[in-house]
Symmetry: C2
């Protein structure tokens, strides 16, 4: 999984060159990118420890229990993180999109399996080079702490959802959040493509496929959402759906 040039992406900072002499493959994340705000000199040290990685859809990036050798941040695509019980029960703990991090570990091994849901591009940082990088660029450590804090908030929201919300409230919460993250507009009825199937949604919301399907049908029948097909979503009444999500 070597360094690749993604020259399909236009660069806003064409002064940045990686050590191999290849024009740096920028993501289009702007100020939310991990590397945003670095000077050219800092960026050189940054790019020196960075690896670009690509993964096929449905491919496993790492498994629960593997030694935690890399930290990842997504530039293009989507990832699911999940944990398994020995009898096969699965819980998806997060869906991640461009700008999100994964692979942080407390004990040296990954606590979850990471799997690409779409063709994936990610920046990858070897764990053993991170200490030096943080010493050089303390701001990166701050950004990482901020990202971890946000992930913790999201995890707490998910705990509230799983512990205390009904199936209808769970799906409403999920769709409202996803709609926002995927750029759905409250005014324009442009459908948003859902990158995951009913099974993944079920394993994220602590439900079964059948209950997810029935609940989709219920929201559709009540005019809250519109489904051009099973994997495309329009939220017709965002305010009402958000109220349901909060249990109102």
């Amino acid at each position: 999984m070597g360094t690749l040039a993604f020259d399909v992406f236009t660069s806003e900072r064409d002064d940045c060159v990686d050590p191999a002499g290849v024009t740096c493959q920028h993501c289009d994340l702007g100020t939310t990118a991990f590397c945003a705000g670095l000077t050219t000199g800092q960026f050189g040290r940054f790019i020196a420890v960075l690896e670009q990685a690509t993964f096929e859809p449905q491919s496993t990036i790492f498994r629960e229990g593997d030694p935690a050798q890399h930290l990842y941040t997504i530039t293009v695509g989507a990832v699911k993180l999940y944990k398994l019980l020995s009898d096969g029960r699965r819980q998806i703990v997060a869906f991640l999109f461009p700008g999100d991090f994964f692979g942080l570990s407390g004990n040296g091994t990954y606590a979850y399996t990471a799997e690409a849901m779409l063709p994936l591009m990610a920046c990858r940082f070897p764990r053993r080079k991170m200490d030096q990088l943080f010493k050089d660029l303390p701001m990166l450590e701050k950004k990482l702490l901020g990202a971890a804090t946000q992930e913790l908030d999201a995890a707490h929201d998910q705990i509230l959802l799983l512990g205390r919300k009904t199936a209808r409230e769970r799906l409403a919460s999920f769709l409202v959040g996803l709609w926002r993250r995927l750029g759905g507009s409250d005014d324009h009825p442009a459908p948003v493509a859902l990158p995951m199937g009913r099974g993944d949604i079920a394993d994220f919301l602590g439900l079964t496929i059948e209950t997810v399907s029935r609940t989709f049908t219920g929201l559709r029948r009540d005019g809250l959402i519109f489904l051009p097909d099973a994997s495309h979503l329009v939220i017709r009444r965002p305010k009402d759906l958000a109220r349901i999500a909060e249990g109102l």
Copy 2:
């Protein structure tokens, strides 16, 4: 809520003096303490931004939505963090004990309410002084990132528990984890005091009080645990209880 001297605690580092001239109130956390590993000079800067805070049992430390002005680390006592839905449904997102942090915020307001479960002593750091402190003592930022990572792992475990485990598996997981954290021994049958009631356990495990009570009775009838009274626990067969917790 001013600075207090907790001279009931014996000090291992009696060379440390806070700016007011009072002998520093050490916690007995050893190498796990936030301040562990600091030199005397560093410790001076550390203590300069630190406030000591005490809280009565059942008192609220801060509420969900309050401006996030402080970061806390527990020295003595126990804390619960919870979120509420508008109709009163409550989800406890964490029980915290000495050495644990709380109060990190992504958006400037607390995402949960924090309440003392026991007489509480905590070190408190004003958010506006943290940047300077991190610049002086970068190791503290590393420790905080490590703590946030651990909390994130714990949150993911709780997500798995709430999404995919049965009531029996949930209580078994909870008791095994609590037993370890409160210093229960696999050999000695010394009961451990549970600092929370059935209602708190229910709101942590996503169950009702009645189901928690019935499940306690079930584990007791099966000889896995022993309850001298409702708030004291002995785990009789730790291995078997741990197997139940993992769904085996």
